[in-house]
């Protein structure tokens, strides 16, 4: 009969209305600033730069290769290469970013910059309370704002960070072993005047098909 469905629907909403007062488990609302839901591990919003050690600027893993800048679909990353070099985590001198800006008003959180980075230098953050009063300058994050420690990375994405750390440690060990072997070889033929031990040290090559994370 005409109107039957309306009555059924009204009964359903009335049931929900009354139920929301009686049973608290119906309500899914979380009172946000006071109560917070722990973010799930794969949460991501905007990228940040990982550094090792205690000094953010000195420990940046980024070598300003500009792959992420080229790959970024909305073109929100701006990098300027440095003119000098500084040693990276294995001690090899590398170029570092003199300027590294991300415009988070443009960023679409696609994670492509993370996927393409060969140095595990850029990762996705979970920090979302980024509102500012200046919608132009305030939303362009620079090097200092983007740099976050490896411990922080371990905290927000433990599984993924553990994998990355293991891989980096392995590579570092490999490099050190190689360096040690090279040093041993150099010591073995100490009699002969050594020529260019730096050329013997290979650059840390990475497996291009690395896991994108847990």
């Amino acid at each position: 009969m005409l109107g039957e469905g309306i009555v059924k629907g009204l009964a359903e909403t009335a049931k929900n209305f009354a139920g929301s007062f009686v049973s608290k488990e119906r309500l899914t609302t979380v009172q946000y600033p006071e109560e917070r839901v722990e973010p799930i591990e794969n949460t991501r919003d905007f990228p940040f730069l990982v550094y090792d050690g205690s000094d953010p600027m000195a420990g940046l893993r980024c070598v300003a290769c500009q792959i992420c800048e080229k790959e970024c679909p909305p073109k929100c990353i701006y990098i300027t290469k440095s003119t000098d070099k500084k040693p990276d985590y294995v001690g090899k001198p590398q170029i570092y970013p003199a300027r590294f800006d991300i415009d988070i008003s443009v960023c679409m959180s696609c994670q492509i910059c993370v996927e393409v980075c060969p140095f595990e230098a850029i990762k996705m953050d979970t920090e979302f309370e980024l509102s500012t009063t200046d919608r132009f300058e305030g939303l362009i994050l620079d090097r200092e704002q983007l740099a976050k420690s490896n411990e922080y990375y371990n905290k927000i994405h433990p599984t993924e960070a553990a994998e990355v750390d293991a891989r980096l440690a392995e590579e570092k060990a490999k490099v050190e072993a190689k360096a040690k072997a090279a040093a041993a070889a150099a010591a073995a033929k100490a009699a002969a005047p050594a020529s260019g031990e730096t050329t013997a040290k290979p650059a840390p090559q990475k497996d291009p098909a690395k896991e994108p994370g847990a």
Binding site: I6, G9, T13, A14, S20
Partner: protein, 402 residues
């Protein structure tokens, strides 16, 4: 009337009338009618927007609860000061007028809407002896003034120079004109029974009691049918769900007020709710006994309190419907108006006439009850069956722009 001579319930009942007379007493006799009218206008302009503010909170919290959410609860205890925050926000917002908009018409549209809707309150009896102008054609006045809201909606949609605005306005106007016919026709049954277009007389005709039960028109077959039809037409007339196609945000952004912001938008919002309240008030006046108490032993509660309680109940019902029903399609809307509402209201007119002439005698009373209720029920079921089977209310038909 002497205030001192009245009993306490009567004093409470006539409280606002005496306040009005007390204020009028400060002015010379020549000015008194004007001052009295002004006091009444101030009362209406103050009280109904206050109810509007209350309704917005009730609506948002009620809808939230129906969807198992909490609703606004931040501003003030339990969020009851939310409308204050909303008001401040809309007052301080930038007023944006599109470059190509027709400035004068764009500005006038919300003003005309709110003024026209406020005018409609003039003949609404909100309590015993509490009506702004007791004119002989009060109901006609309400419908006449209500007709001009359509034009203001058209003005808003057309002057914005926005296709969504124009489409929304055309939908709104077509819908309001279509449903104005059943609205008027369903209201006419109450006029037929009372024998007057005066809203005060219509309420007085319903103020008697049989035992403890009142003589409201809704407790008769034609009155009930008229009331249901009036509610449906009123929902369509005020663009409320399920008839909110003019504002269908999934297709038209916000309908005719897409290009409005800041205070002008707030005026549209206010106008929409004031229209809803005035039409609910007239529905109460016509079918639910106006300011009369629902049981004779509750007569000690002031009449205006009853009116506002009924108004709040009506608003809550509107909110409940909004939380329940999905939006109609345009062809369903028009088919419903012309193929269901119009025949039913016409039949209801005839049933009401038959009721009137079957008389009030002991045997006639039963006969007319059975006869009138039977005819209406039969027509409802039959018409519903036919429309559902032919899928007039369901079939999708396509129309293309030329």
């Amino acid at each position: 009337m002497n205030f001192q001579a009245l009993t306490l319930p009567e004093k409470l009942d006539q409280l606002f009338v005496f306040v009005q007379h007390w204020i009028m007493g400060f002015f010379p006799a020549h000015w008194q009618p004007l001052v009295g009218a002004l006091v009444g206008v101030v009362g209406i302009v103050a009280s109904f927007p206050a109810i509007f503010a209350l309704t917005t909170v009730l609506e948002r919290k009620g809808l939230g609860r129906m969807q198992n959410r909490l609703g606004p609860n931040r501003v003030g205890p339990l969020g009851i000061f939310q409308p204050v925050a909303d008001g401040i926000k809309s007052l301080t917002k930038e007023d944006i007028v599109p470059v190509s908009a027709d400035g004068v018409v764009h500005f006038l549209a919300p003003v005309v809407l709110v003024v026209a809707i406020f005018l409609g309150y003039a003949s609404l009896p909100i309590g015993r002896n509490m009506v702004l102008v007791n004119i002989d054609a009060g109901l006609l006045f309400f419908f006449a003034v209500g007709a001009s809201t359509e034009l203001s909606i058209f003005m808003a949609g057309w002057s914005s120079r926005n296709k969504y605005s124009l489409l929304g306005a055309m939908r709104a106007v077509a819908q309001m004109i279509s449903y104005e016919v059943p609205l008027l026709m369903s209201a006419i049954v109450a006029v037929m029974m009372t024998g007057s277009l005066s809203t005060v007389k219509i309420v007085e005709a319903q103020s008697g009691f049989t035992g403890i039960f009142p003589h409201w028109y809704v407790f008769t077959p034609w009155g009930f049918a008229g009331f249901v039809l009036f509610v449906i037409a009123a929902l369509a007339e005020t663009n409320r769900t399920p008839f909110d196609l003019p504002e269908g945000e999934s297709e038209l952004v916000a309908g005719y007020f897409t290009e409005y912001s800041g205070f002008k938008f707030a005026l549209f919002f206010l106008g929409e709710y004031l229209g809803m309240m005035s039409i609910a008030g007239f529905g109460i006046t016509l079918f639910l006994g106006g300011w009369g108490a629902p049981f004779s032993f509750l007569n000690f509660i002031p009449s205006w309190a009853w009116f506002f309680l009924k108004l709040l109940a009506a608003l809550c019902f509107f909110i409940w419907l909004r939380g329940t029903l999905p939006r109609l399609r345009q062809d369903q809307l028009m088919n419903f108006a012309w193929k269901f509402m119009l025949p039913m209201t016409l039949l209801n007119l005839m049933v009401a006439a038959a009721w009137r002439f079957l008389g009030d005698s002991a045997t006639g009373a039963w006969l007319r009850w059975v006869l009138c209720a039977g005819v209406l029920l039969l027509a409802y079921v039959g018409l519903g069956r036919v429309l559902m089977r032919k899928q007039r209310l369901g079939a999708r038909s396509y129309r293309y722009a030329e």
